[in-house]
């Protein structure tokens, strides 16, 4: 547990968008997906997931629908909007550039 890296706020948004690109799902599903794809390296405080989802909703990058889940319970299913798709590409590029820049700085002189 202690090995898990904490996420910064902006990056959580990016991860959510990426997760939803693979298909609509509910909040718990998103949390599980992130955990799985990062191979358990990332610690997602699930409490912060929902405020992040609402931020994305407010910006119009994702939207939701009421539906019923596997065990027949009602849940909100989130999915990407076209704007969100575009934003994901933009953010991904920014993140990669940032990572490259930091890597360059950290490279042994």
């Amino acid at each position: 547990m202690e090995d898990r890296l904490e996420l910064l706020q902006g990056t959580l948004d990016l991860l959510i968008l990426r997760t939803l690109q693979l298909g609509p799902t509910h909040g718990h599903g998103i949390a599980k997906a992130i955990q799985r794809s990062s191979e358990d390296a990332l610690l997602v405080e699930e409490g912060s997931l929902y405020p992040a989802l609402h931020r994305l909703l407010k910006r119009g990058w994702i939207t939701y629908e009421e539906g019923s889940s596997e065990n027949n319970r009602r849940a909100k299913f989130y999915r990407l909007t076209p704007k969100g798709k575009k934003q994901l590409a933009v953010e991904t590029t920014k993140w990669e550039k940032l990572a490259q820049a930091i890597a360059r700085v950290l490279r042994p002189a």
């Binding site: 405080e45 929902y50 407010k58 849940a75």
Partner: protein
């Protein structure tokens, strides 16, 4: 559009999430309870999640405010008495403020369809040697005014009085109010036409068809607001006229005008003399240059008049310029400004009461607040809750007040003068709502700040220790100051009300010279020329006299208290004075009227000496006149006027030597031109005059309006084409003339009474609280032998001092500001001893009334009971 909000069901969502995680944990082999705990741990604090998610949509401060407001409302509902008292006080005073502001906005603040009215002035001449405060000028004089380029940007002229233009219409002939204006009249005012065009220079040339501009009201009522009427020709009593344009909706200058016509053709057409030079019926309206002030303009004009060669018979002529808005709006303007000030004062007094109530509550709850502070609440929490409560009360009061304002406004419009410019259109508009909202914020601020300032002085420790009384020593001092301030404001209001009331009473008891009850008047037009019309009128009068329910009937050329400066001024020459025109100069002008014999009894004008006209004073008899007492006193001081002879140059034709008239009677003065305007009256028999007697005056035993129909039918029988117009009772005429003072007196009085009631209530509650607070102390003193009078003196001490100083300050302020009431005061001085004495008495009475119960309680304190009582 999805109407659901993402926040809906967030709780369920969170719960589901945790359930799913728990299920997954169970699937991984955990014990159900452990699974659930692990899931909760992993999730974090659901409440925090919920708050953070909410914070995305709703700013935190807004959320907090919502909470505070809900709490505030709940807290207020727990004290319904307090809530009701504060809301009611605020609602009524805010409503009054909104209503008065609606009137002020409609009359004074909304823009007129006139360009920069504050740069306009209305001008005429005055002749001090003849005691004439308003003297019209001729067209040539007007052109001379135009010649002073440096003073005025533009000068126009308009007729000083309105004449009746009959509109020939087979269906419904009617008389319209017409005025003659110079061709640049509308351009000077900067008014754009609604339809068509206004006058141009070429319209001054007399043609067969005269150009005519319609007022919006006539266009709407007579011509069904049809734009196609522009260009049409209509037939009037003076010939055909072409409608060239329609004035915009709000344009009413001069007041009450239905149509405008070019004045030059009218003047040029006066037979026998040079109308443009010798007929003086014009006022000017001029636009000042940017840099010129009204005083400079007056001085320049005066210089021109003094140097002018055409002075001749105008000795002692001076020039007077009045600001346009003052001329147009009259005393209503002053009345409205003062009423607005008064109602503002009332609002402050009301705020004082509400602030005191709030203070009581704060003090009462100080224990609760102290506990909260001790448990960790922030210091600002109390401020916020007090502020929110004040805001809630103010907002609720404001909303109720706006509803009440509509009724208040109805009442104001009903009381106000019928012809009050633009008042009829006053409504509770968006502007008024906005203004009320600002007032709401002011009220909330004022009332809350008193409590907050006081609350800072309440120490926490003492609050927790004390017994929870509703009042503390310091808060009582604050209350006492509040009451003092309220007393000062009330004194101001009462002084204003007292002065207004006395002006109104002076007005009511004014001797108008006639008795208006049961008299109804009509404007009649037989479509004949002057003398023939008078013959017809005499026949009509004879027929009407035989009708039932009619006491007396008469006709007259001028009716008392006509709107505006309507009347005929005539020069007069006394027998024995040289006959030339120039010697008529030093004689004052007389107010001319041509009347039938029945006029005097119909109006119940008092006969002082001699006799009145009879049927024998006809066209072929000796020419006679009747004069008023003032005329007799002025023209023949200390002599008997009966038998003297005079000549009225203005109305006589032919050789003046043949038109001497003998004075046969003296009657009382009648106010023809205005309530405070006594002229020198002179009467001729209508049968001996060529001046058209266009007013029918009927005194009946019953309500005059009820028999108006019968009278009209009778008139039509004598002349089928006769026009009947302007049916109005003399009582209504008098009421219209006094309406501004009626309005001012009523409203000022209402505000003053309200303020007094509020002060009484405030004083009473403060005194009661003081007695309650110190009852133990008093009990001790009584037990130790103090006398009742001593105790009473102590109880009233601080508060009495505040009341007295408040009253003193109020009186000083009143003396300083009463002078500005100006025109609103009728025959009364601003510093009127009776009024001020009455105000002082009222304050004493109010204070006394408020004191009664508390003092009674003080004297009934039983030391034994009091000292035994455990708090």
């Amino acid at each position: 559009m999805r109407k659901r909000h993402p926040l809906n069901g967030l709780d369920d969502e969170i719960r589901d999430h945790i359930d799913r995680e728990a299920l997954d944990n169970v699937a991984m082999g955990m014990h159900p309870l452990e699974a659930r705990r692990a899931a909760l741990r992993k999730f974090g604090a659901p409440l925090r999640t919920h708050e953070d998610a909410r914070a995305v949509w709703i700013p935190v401060w807004l959320d907090t405010l919502r909470l505070e407001v809900r709490q505030g409302i709940r807290s207020l509902l727990r004290s319904p008495g307090y809530l009701l008292a504060s809301v009611l006080t605020v609602a009524l005073t805010l409503g009054a403020n909104a209503a008065i502001f609606s009137a002020v906005h409609a009359v004074l603040l909304s823009p007129l369809p006139i360009r920069e009215p504050d740069r306009l002035v209305v001008g005429w001449e005055i002749n001090r040697s003849r005691n004439q405060s308003v003297v019209e000028i001729s067209y040539r004089d007007f052109e001379a005014w135009q010649g002073i380029g440096s003073t005025f940007a533009e000068v126009a002229a308009f007729g000083s009085s309105i004449w009746s233009l009959s509109l020939e219409d087979d269906i419904d002939p009617v008389r319209l109010a017409a005025v003659g204006v110079s061709s640049n009249f509308f351009d000077t005012l900067g008014t754009p036409p609604l339809w068509g065009r206004f006058f141009r220079a070429e319209d001054d040339r007399s043609g067969v068809v005269r150009p005519l501009v319609l007022s919006h009201r006539v266009w709407r009522t007579r011509f069904a607001a049809d734009p196609a009427i522009v260009g049409a020709t209509i037939v009037t009593g003076d010939g055909p006229a072409e409608i060239i344009g329609v004035a915009p909706a709000d344009f009413d200058f001069p007041r009450g005008v239905d149509v405008w016509l070019p004045v030059v053709p009218v003047l040029a057409g006066v037979a026998g003399i040079d109308g443009l030079r010798d007929v003086s019926v014009l006022f000017t309206v001029a636009r000042l240059h940017e840099a010129t002030s009204a005083q400079t303009a007056e001085a320049n004009l005066q210089r021109m008049v003094d140097n002018s060669a055409s002075i001749g018979d105008r000795f002692g002529t001076a020039v007077q310029l009045t600001p346009f808005l003052e001329y147009e709006l009259g005393p209503v303007r002053a009345a409205l400004w003062w009423l607005w000030a008064a109602v503002g004062l009332l609002l402050l007094v009301a705020c004082g009461n509400v602030a005191a109530l709030m203070l009581g509550r704060t003090v009462q709850h100080r224990r609760e607040h102290a506990l909260r502070r001790a448990l960790g609440a922030s210091a600002t929490a109390r401020w916020r809750s007090t502020g929110v409560e004040a805001l809630v009360i103010a907002v609720v009061g404001g909303l109720c007040g706006l509803v009440a304002a509509r009724w208040f406004l109805h009442a104001i419009v009903a009381l106000a003068p019928d012809d009050a410019p633009r008042l009829a259109g006053a409504t509770v508009s968006l502007t008024v709502v906005g203004f009320t909202f600002i007032l709401v914020l002011v009220v909330a601020f004022l009332t809350a700040s008193v409590s907050l300032l006081q609350a800072r002085r309440l120490s926490l420790v003492d609050a927790l220790r004390e017994s929870g009384h509703a009042v503390t020593g310091t808060s009582l001092k604050t209350r006492a100051w509040l009451v003092g301030a309220q007393v000062a404001l009330s004194v101001l209001l009462m002084t204003g009300a007292g002065l207004m009331l006395r002006s109104y009473l002076n007005l009511r008891h004014l001797n108008l010279g006639f008795v208006p009850e049961n008299v109804v008047t009509f404007e009649i037009d037989s479509r004949r020329a002057g003398a023939a019309h008078n013959e017809w009128a005499a026949a009509l009068v004879a027929r009407l006299e035989e009708m039932r329910d009619i006491d007396a009937v008469g006709v007259a050329h001028v009716r008392p208290l006509g709107l505006g400066a309507i009347g005929t001024d005539s020069t007069i020459v006394l027998e024995g004075q040289p006959n030339a025109r120039t010697s008529a100069g030093p004689n004052p002008l007389v107010n001319y009227n041509a009347v039938s014999p029945g006029y005097f009894p119909a109006m119940r004008i008092r006969l002082a000496e001699g006799r009145l006209f009879t049927a024998d004073d006809g066209g072929r008899s000796r020419r006679v006149v009747v004069v008023s007492e003032s005329t007799a006193r002025t023209l023949w001081p200390n002599q008997d006027p009966l038998g003297r002879r005079v000549s009225l140059l203005a109305v006589s034709e032919g050789d003046p030597a043949e038109s001497w008239r003998t004075v046969i009677g003296v009657v009382g003065d009648v106010r023809y031109r205005g309530l405070d305007d006594v002229r020198l009256d002179i009467y001729e028999p209508a049968s001996q005059s060529s001046a058209r007697a266009g007013y029918l005056v009927v005194r009946s035993t019953r309500d005059g309006l009820a028999i108006a129909g019968a009278i009209q039918a009778e008139a039509r029988r004598v002349e089928p084409r006769a026009i009947f117009n302007g049916t109005i009772t003399m009582e209504a005429v008098v009421r219209r003339a006094t309406a501004t003072w009626t309005l001012a007196a009523w409203l000022f009085g209402l505000f003053a009474v309200s303020a007094v009631v509020l002060v009484c209530v405030g004083l009473f509650s403060t005194l009661s609280l003081e007695v309650t607070r110190r009852s133990r102390e008093f009990a001790l003193r009584i037990a130790l032998g103090a006398r009742a009078a001593d105790i009473v003196r102590r109880a009233l001490g601080t508060i009495g001092g505040c009341v007295l100083s408040g009253a003193a300050i109020g009186l000083v302020l009143a003396v300083l500001t009463a002078g500005f009431l100006g025109r609103l005061l009728f025959e009364i001085q601003p510093v009127d001893a009776v009024t001020y004495a009455a105000v002082v008495c009222m304050i004493a009475l109010t204070a006394g009334a408020a004191c009664l119960v508390p003092i009674h309680r003080v004297t009934r304190i039983s030391p034994v009971d009091e000292l035994r009582r455990i708090d």
